[in-house]
């Protein structure tokens, strides 16, 4: 492991964010082209190496506890890294790296890229902070850093639609973060601590009635971030209006962080496995609503946004079942969703880059012009629909089996039907964009640039690898599942004998 890797994983993107305008100014003065982009790629790759360097230690069943300033928890702030948050940190770092590489070409026609990369790295710092911290107030602060940077990035192109979507996102999300802050205040009032492990140790001593309100505030606050029904409405607007690279980051990384924060608080902090059935039921509603809304969309990015809502429903269903298999399936699906949803948003961005629109009614026959992109879209569509031999099948299958084993066959049947609907709306998208007759104005459209294609091909390869070798995915997910279901181990590792 790289020395001080836990804190470096947060500090590096933070410094990179603030150095970005300086790099931009220096590059312009010295006439170095694309220096800022290369700096961003280098920084995000170093970040990925730092995060990955922690894997051998944590997968060796050790919980890394990094005390800031040498203060013992619960008095000092600490970073506590177990299988669950490292799993999330790897997803976040990996997706961020691919998004930064993708942005190299995708964002080249935009101005103000100093700000763009600054905000992107601020989101990354926020996500890493949320993932790695062992302090609930720190989690809130990093969550806010992530959210505020997200609002700015949605409005990045300063078009009327993007500004409107950003303001709506800001207001709804701020309400959610206010709920979280209120929940933290209530917990602090009850227990007098902000350390997650310490809170988890003390909360079982409190009367059940006292934890209902803070728990509901947390679930609602994080539910807004992951777009759980009925808190989801901001998401299609924001994803449609944001630049495609940003939408890819949101769908793959920030949604993962939202799920992590929710399960960490619900299962580790409150130990409330009993409300899993409520999460599973809300997951089902989320799955159904997302799929039915996606079915009638005209815009590809909006369709993907609703699809995102639907897939988060699967994750909630798996995790909510609360069994070993359910949690494994849910986390595996979270991992897979990050892969193919990022990929599909990147493909949407490639289409917009070449054609200028994501309105499916104005597209068609692009298979002839963009055969590689069409094939990759096919891979993504089949993977997300749970068609074998792609990765989505493996995680959905695990969730289906978990549903039946948990005595909830109706949940499994609904999830199966929604999988069929997912295939239906992706076949519609495939047909509208790539098949059929090609409008005359699309005759000269070229294939996606190689630099944009690279991250998409990599993600498509992962869809195949984890589909053909699902046991590999299960092996990656297992330490996260074991960490999530072993709150006692987390508490004793952080607090020691305290």
């Amino acid at each position: 492991m790289i020395p001080h890797a836990p804190i470096l994983a947060i500090v590096l993107p933070l410094f990179a964010a603030f150095l970005m305008p300086v790099v931009g100014i220096l590059a312009r003065r010295r006439g170095i082209k694309r220096a800022r982009e290369w700096f961003a790629i280098a920084a995000v790759l170093v970040e990925l190496v730092i995060v990955v360097s922690m894997l051998p230690v944590v997968w060796g069943e050790q919980i890394l506890v990094y005390q800031l300033g040498g203060w013992q928890p619960p008095w000092g702030i600490n970073l506590a890294i177990d299988g669950l948050n490292l799993f999330v940190a790897v997803i976040v770092a990996g997706i961020s790296a691919l998004v930064v590489i993708y942005s190299f070409v995708c964002m080249e026609r935009d101005t103000g890229l100093d700000q763009y990369y600054t905000l992107l790295f601020l989101i990354l710092a926020g996500m890493m902070g949320v993932a790695l911290t062992g302090d609930i107030f720190n989690l809130y602060v990093f969550f806010e850093i992530m959210c505020i940077s997200s609002y700015a990035l949605v409005a990045f192109r300063r078009k009327w639609q993007s500004i409107e979507a950003s303001i709506k996102y800001l207001i709804v999300s701020s309400l959610g973060t206010s709920f979280i802050l209120l929940g933290i205040a209530l917990l602090y009032g009850m227990v007098g601590s902000l350390n997650i492990a310490h809170l988890a140790q003390k909360l079982p001593l409190e009367p059940t009635s006292a934890i209902i309100v803070p728990l509901a505030l947390f679930v609602t606050g994080f539910g807004i971030k992951i777009a759980m029904v009925p808190l989801h409405m901001w998401q299609p607007d924001a994803y449609q209006a944001a630049p495609s690279a940003v939408a890819a980051l949101f769908s793959g990384a920030t949604a993962t962080i939202g799920i992590y924060a929710m399960v960490r608080v619900v299962y580790t902090l409150f130990g409330a496995f009993a409300i899993g059935i409520m999460l599973a039921a809300l997951g089902l509603v989320t799955m159904v609503l997302g799929a039915l809304m996606a079915l009638t969309q005209r815009d590809l990015k909006r369709l993907l946004a609703y699809s995102c809502i639907s897939q988060i429903g699967y994750v909630l269903l798996g995790i909510g079942l609360g069994t070993v298999l359910g949690v494994q399936g849910g986390l595996f699906h979270l991992f897979n969703n990050a892969i193919y949803k990022t990929m599909l948003f990147m493909i949407a961005g490639a289409i917009i880059y070449r054609v200028g629109t994501s309105n499916m009614d104005r597209l068609g026959g692009l298979w002839k012009n963009m055969p590689v992109t069409a094939m990759l879209f096919g891979v993504g569509a089949l993977a997300i629909s749970g068609v074998p031999p792609f990765n989505g099948f493996a995680s959905k299958w695990t969730i289906y089996v978990a549903g039946i084993e948990a005595g909830q066959p109706v949940f499994t049947i609904i999830a199966l039907i929604m999988s069929a609907l997912t295939l239906a709306y992706f076949l519609k998208a495939l047909n509208s964009i790539f098949l059929g007759q090609r409008p005359t104005h699309l005759k000269n459209v070229k294939e996606t640039p190689l630099f944009m294609l690279f991250p998409i091909v990599l993600l498509a390869a992962l869809c195949v690898i984890f589909g053909v070798l699902p046991q590999l995915g299960i092996d990656i997910v297992r330490p996260a599942q074991e960490a999530l279901m072993n709150s006692g181990g987390y508490i004793s590792a952080v607090l020691g004998g305290a």
Binding site: V172, T208, L215, A216, I275
Partner: protein, 116 residues
């Protein structure tokens, strides 16, 4: 019995064997398609390949299925859903905030019921 993990191997779902079988079947299907084309060569006349739409010839731009109506039959099955739920997704901020409050109440009530 509750499983510790789904085992993907040579049992009910062996992904490597299944993928090989899928690829093999695809290759066989492809060969049949190509073979069929060689045996019976299509010789369409100009009139046959024209899009028939009430006697009018459509431009490529016009010969496109409307995305919203693509699955109109499925949409009809879920008509109550589209009638009552879809109007909530109109982009009006106050509606979004209303549903956040409703969501909080639902979650609060559900947690209270489950934990008590």
């Amino acid at each position: 019995m509750v499983s510790e993990s789904v085992l993907f191997g040579p049992g009910f779902w062996g992904p490597v064997v299944a993928t090989a079988a899928l690829l093999l079947i695809t290759a066989v299907g492809w060969l049949i398609l190509i073979g069929g084309r060689r045996i019976t060569k299509a010789k369409p006349s100009a009139g046959k390949i024209q899009t028939y739409a009430c006697g009018e010839t459509l431009k490529a731009e016009e010969a496109h299925v409307d995305s919203e109506q693509f699955f109109s039959t499925i949409s009809r099955v879920f008509r109550p859903f589209y009638r009552y739920v879809r109007p909530g997704h109109t982009g009006v901020l106050s509606t979004y905030l209303f549903w956040v409050v409703v969501g909080l109440i639902i979650i609060l009530a559900a947690i209270a019921v489950v934990l008590r």
